[in-house]
Structure formats: C-alpha cells, structure tokens
Symmetry: C2
Subunit: 392 residues, 2 copies
C-alpha cells in the first residue's frame, strides 16, 4: 500500500436554503480544491461524492454522474456514497484505499447536500429514514428523539444529575459557537452563553435548541493523491495515516454499549492502529456533534476522556484549544453547519487546514501535527474515523 | 494486484410486488451465496450493496448498515451503491478492486430492490430521477421516452425503416422470453412471437409493451474472494479478469455518440484491456436490455456487431446460444426481471453459473469459458463492464 495525501481542500460556505443546484454547489468546492492542488478537472481519475438526500431535495439520484460531467471530469468513474451523515467520510476513505492500492493516482472525494432546502420539518422526517425503518421510525423516532434518549441513558449510566448534564451539554455548544464566530464558512455565527442554551426552546428533553445542529446546504471536496503525485504537486501534503469504518444496525443492536456506540469504537481503533497513534497523540479533532450529547459520547468513544467524564472535560477547557485535545475548532456541526452528505468532507477540510496552519488565528490549534475525524451516520449505523498527519 | 474470484452466487426469484423487506430479500440471496462458498456471515469482511430506491420503497436509507446487522455480518464496513440500474455492478467492481489490492480477502457484494413494490406508475416517475433532473425530467422525460427517442435516432442514423427496426426489436424480446421460460428465477415467464410483441400495447412509439422490462422485486449476491481463499474454498472459482466503469452526464453530453453511448464504449474497453480479451472471445454476455432497443445499442457498443447491424444479427440467431455470442441466456432484464439496484449482481450470478455449466440445459451455453456483463445506469450516466473467466 502506498502513502496517500490530501493535496487540495475546498468548501462552500455552509448556509440555510439557497438556490444553487447540487452540481453547482459541489463544483464550487471542487474548483477550490483543484486550484489548491494546482490541478484541472481532467487530471482527476475518479469522483466519489457523499450525498444522502439528493433524491428528495432535488429529485436527482446518481448525482455524481451528473456532477462529473458538470465539472469537466468527463467520463470518470463517479460513485455516490450514502451512509447518511457519514457519506462523505466513506467517500474519502474509499478514495484513500483505492489510491493507496494503486488503482488510482488522483481522486476527488467529497460531499454535497441541500438539507436546508428541504425545510427543517421535512428534513427531520425525511432524514429519519436513516434510522431503522422497521423498528425505530414506526415508533415515532426522529434523531432529536434518539439523542434525547441517549442523553437520559448517559445521565442514568454515569449517575449524573440531568441538570448537571444539561449544563455540560450547554458548554459544548458555547465552545462550538465561540469557534464558529471566527469561521467565515460557518452557517450559524453567533455567541451564546450557558444560560442562553438552557433557556432556548426545548426540542426533546433534555435537548434544547442550541444543543442541536442545523440542517445546512453546502459542499466540501478534497483532492486525494498518491505520495509521488503529492510530493510534486503540493508544498504541504497532509497524509491520511489511518482509516477505519464499521457498521451497526438499529440502536437496539448496540446492546450493552449504550450510551456508547460500538461501531465508533471499532472504527477508531482501526484508524489509530493503522496510523500507529493513540488518542493522546491527537492534537485536533473534528467529531460528530449533531447534538451536544453526541460530542460527549464521541469524545469518550474516541478515547479522549473516561466514560462519563467528557462533560467535566469540556467544563474545564480540556476539549478546547490549549487543552488536552482541541475539539471542533471549526465550530463543528452545530455552528459550522450540517449538510448531511458533505459533513465528513468538511471535517477533513478543517483538519487539513489546521495541520497546514492556515485557519483564522483565533481558532488555529498551535503547531497541530496529528488530526482525527469522526463521523457518525444515522444513529450509529455507519461510523468512519480517519487519522491525518502533517507531511512536510 | 491479486487475482480475484467469485466463489459464491445467490439470487432470489425476481417477482412483482411481494412482502419481504429489503433486509429479508437480500438475506435470502446472501445466504445462498454464502452456502455456495461454504462460508458463514462472520467470515465476510465488508458488505457492498446496490440499492437505488430503498428510500422510496421502504423509507430506508443507508440500507447496507441494517442488512449487515440483519444477516449477522456484524459491524463490517457496509456501503450502499447508487448508480441507478448499475448500482450492484459498481458494488461488485469495487469489491473486486479492494480484494485485488489486498484491503479485504472476502467481500459480499450484490444488490436489492423492491421496485415492483413501488407500483409501476410511481416507479416510472420516481425512477426518472436517474435521468438529469435539470434538463431531462422537467421536459417530461421518463425512461421509456428516452429509449423511444434512441430508437428513432437509431433508425434515422442507420437508414433503417422503423417497421424493420420494430421487427428486429421484437425478435430481441422473443429470444429473451424464450430463455426466461427455462429460468425458474425469472419474473415474467411466457412465450411470445414477433406478432405478439408488435400488437402489444404501445408504450412510447416505436416501443411496445413486450419491448420493455418490468420493475421487479429481488436480490442477488456474490462472494468475492482473493485467489488464495478461492483456491481453498471453491472447486469452481470464476475469476473477475477485468472491470471498467465510466460516467456521462445527461444524454445531450453524449454529443455525436447518439444513439451510441460513450461511457459504455469506454467502460467495456477498460474491461477488455484489463482481461486481455476482445469482443470475439466472449462466449456469453448478460447485457442491459431494459428495452429491446437497448440490447441492439449495447451489443454494438460492446463490439459484438457492426453499428446498425445488431438487429440483423438477432434475426439470424447470431446473438443466441450457438451463434456468435450468446446474449442474455438468463432471459435478461425483460424476462428475468429488473430489480434496479440488484440487476448488475444478477447478471454476474448468471455469468458465474454459465461458466460453471450449472444452468438449466435448455439455456446453458455449451462449454462457456469467458463471459461479460454490461450494466447501464440511468440513460448512460453510469456504465460498468466486467469480464469473467472460468478458473479451473
């Protein structure tokens, strides 16, 4: 297996409903990434695109075939990835594997979604299709409900008073919004305090509005290249040092792991092992904070903090820049936004730019060398972890 | 790159609307394939599933995550492929590439769809999402219309009187139904004559009802393994000798290629070159006959017959068992049926069983050594070709 690097990264601003088509949105991110890598569309040998909701937002299936044509990557193999919110991370991981193995030298991988264009009530209902359609959705479960249940389970499991957990979750949001303020590509840019979060609209107890990410429109794209191409094309290649992916069925299949998610723990172990690193080596991490409780569960599942203790870590600043590990300096899904099928690629975009030292100074993790992405699809059905290393 | 073989093949009967869920249907095919390979679900390292319409037929996205759990392939990476009708062929091709490169040793790849369960009018409308949503669908195009236009273009391009083309197309159907009569897993099993086809309901001139494939429910699955695993596990491994994939945008992007499809010609050239064979070496071919005209276009694009001459070949029996190349001895999409996301895997299922000499004697291609699959997604947006060789 060859070494593989990200040599170009592009992202649109994430936003509410807007009028660009999926092809136009992805093109914006793709051209940014290609310019970053000094490449033309015709240099790309394959196109992998995460897109979960295109059939519903735009009546378009098989989206990448049309995107490839639209951006001028004519006739390349063009694959669509649907792993719900983890779609784009699957696309990046497969690009990594197929470049590592020598099948391709240069692949463009990313994701695009017009989730905000669906309108939030319809998006929530449509998106519930990524839980189990046999046992979960018919019971009335949508994702705020899933994570509200996980929050209650978390509080009960670790003997945490629910009011204390709510405060910890609020601190997760406060930190994310703080960083998002300095991210010009973030969807929701505002400053909130713990009391602001606690008094915001109750979505599904104990989750308040400011504990939830928005549905966003947006796209992100990466140029994935073999080491020899990377050394020629990029002054600052960021290497994909490890990648893992695992699946699970409905939440009930997690068994005794709740409120932990088994597939995450498996995927991250694979990624750490392949990269030869431990959680303590990670300088910066973009993890899947679709809800604040999801951040706590993720940070523990990834091995950063003891089970039941992540909230305390956030309260003490250990999950922030300058702490044990800088989590979601992009603003995360909560502030940066959550265009479902694009989210994993946007996490990679942030890690690549952090490792290059290129983000706004207010949210740059000083001298970041090793980064991690963690992406959750559905209620744990698909999990992808990837480790990145600065390569110069 | 290592050699890669198919060591197990399973398929459900293809049918009209039925009550099994996507997971149950796929499980039936998967367990057949696993038994054929003497393997258990826990032996599988990844699951790749073509499924284009699950969100609509069952309100289930990210289907493979739930299927992996359901069949007991717990926690493996589970990827969904949407390339419209070519979805499962993309899944098989990626399984081939990732086993060839040593990432996995054993992958289960296939597809599942409940297209008939949607009901034909809704399926036709929903399925039109796999043409271009910007330029084609808004003009009222559905797939019968696309292929009707291609038929007229074909007749005009090659100076063929439309009545003569209609007769040739009818002969394509007659041959497919003849073989499907002997395929116990076929959806539509009946005998038709050229006059039957010509006097059947006009769907979109010049296409009659019997020129069209049905929407079907069904699943097919293959066990894809590295050569060393294959040699141990299977007395009759069938090797994947070559694979190609290409994309195009809307039909308008084919430019001067119409009524030819550029992506097919590129994908099949890749597959032939990788396998070191020419069209003349192919003994048996399963090609994408969603409409009879699609068979003629495919057979020419794959290099079996001169452009404009495929109809004559069918009339003379050159596309049948005993002719130049045996095309669609399974009954093809027309008789065997067309469960969109499963079709490519069912083509591979047929080729594998043909090369093993295991199909019903009435439709067995004698001493078949080399086979080809050709799968078309949308109106040419995704094309996949694969060459298979008998390996014992």
């Amino acid at each position: 297996m060859r070494k593989v690097a990200v040599i170009g990264a592009g992202q649109t601003r994430f936003s509410g409903a807007q009028e660009k088509s999926l092809s136009e949105l992805f093109a914006e991110a793709a051209f940014d990434a290609l310019a970053d890598a000094n490449l033309q569309p015709r240099d790309v040998q394959a196109l992998f695109v995460g897109n979960a909701l295109g059939d519903f937002s735009e009546g378009q299936g098989m989206t990448p075939a049309f995107i490839a044509d639209y951006i001028g990557a004519w006739n390349v193999p063009a694959n669509r990835y649907d792993g719900a919110c983890a779609s784009a991370s699957m696309a990046v991981r497969d690009a990594f594997l197929l470049v590592a193995s020598g099948v391709y030298d240069i692949v463009i991988a990313g994701g695009v979604e017009r989730a905000a264009s669906l309108g939030t009530p319809l998006a929530t209902r449509t998106f519930a299709m990524f839980s189990d359609s046999r046992y979960e959705f018919p019971a009335g479960m949508t994702f705020p409900g899933v994570f509200a249940l996980l929050a209650h389970r978390y509080a009960a499991r670790y003997g945490l008073p629910i009011e204390k957990l709510k405060e910890q979750m609020a601190q997760v949001s406060v930190q994310s919004y703080k960083h998002g303020m300095f991210n010009p590509k973030a969807h929701l840019r505002k400053s909130v305090t713990i009391p602001d979060v606690l008094k915001s609209f109750t979505v599904a107890t104990p989750i308040q509005l400011h504990d939830c990410c928005p549905f966003s429109d947006g796209a992100a794209a990466l140029i994935i290249a073999s080491e020899d191409k990377a050394r020629v094309l990029s002054p600052k290649p960021v290497f994909i040092a490890g990648a893992g992916q695992a699946s699970s069925g409905p939440l009930a299949s997690q068994g005794e792991y709740l409120p932990r998610l088994k597939a995450r723990e498996m995927a991250s172990k694979q990624a750490y092992a392949m990269a030869g690193v431990t959680p303590g080596d990670i300088d910066v991490c973009e993890l899947h904070d679709c809800f604040s409780i999801a951040s706590l569960i993720a940070a523990e599942g990834l091995g950063f903090f003891d089970y039941g203790k992540a909230g305390e870590a956030w309260m003490k600043g250990e999950a922030d820049i300058g702490g044990k590990v800088a989590i979601n300096p992009s603003g995360g899904l909560k502030s940066k936004g959550h265009p479902i099928g694009a989210t994993g690629a946007a996490q990679v975009y942030e890690i690549v730019r952090q490792l290059r030292g290129e983000v706004e100074s207010e949210r740059q993790v000083p001298d970041a060398k090793i980064g991690l992405t963690d992406t959750l699809g559905g209620d744990g059905g698909t999990m992808v972890s990837m480790v990145f290393k600065r390569g110069w």
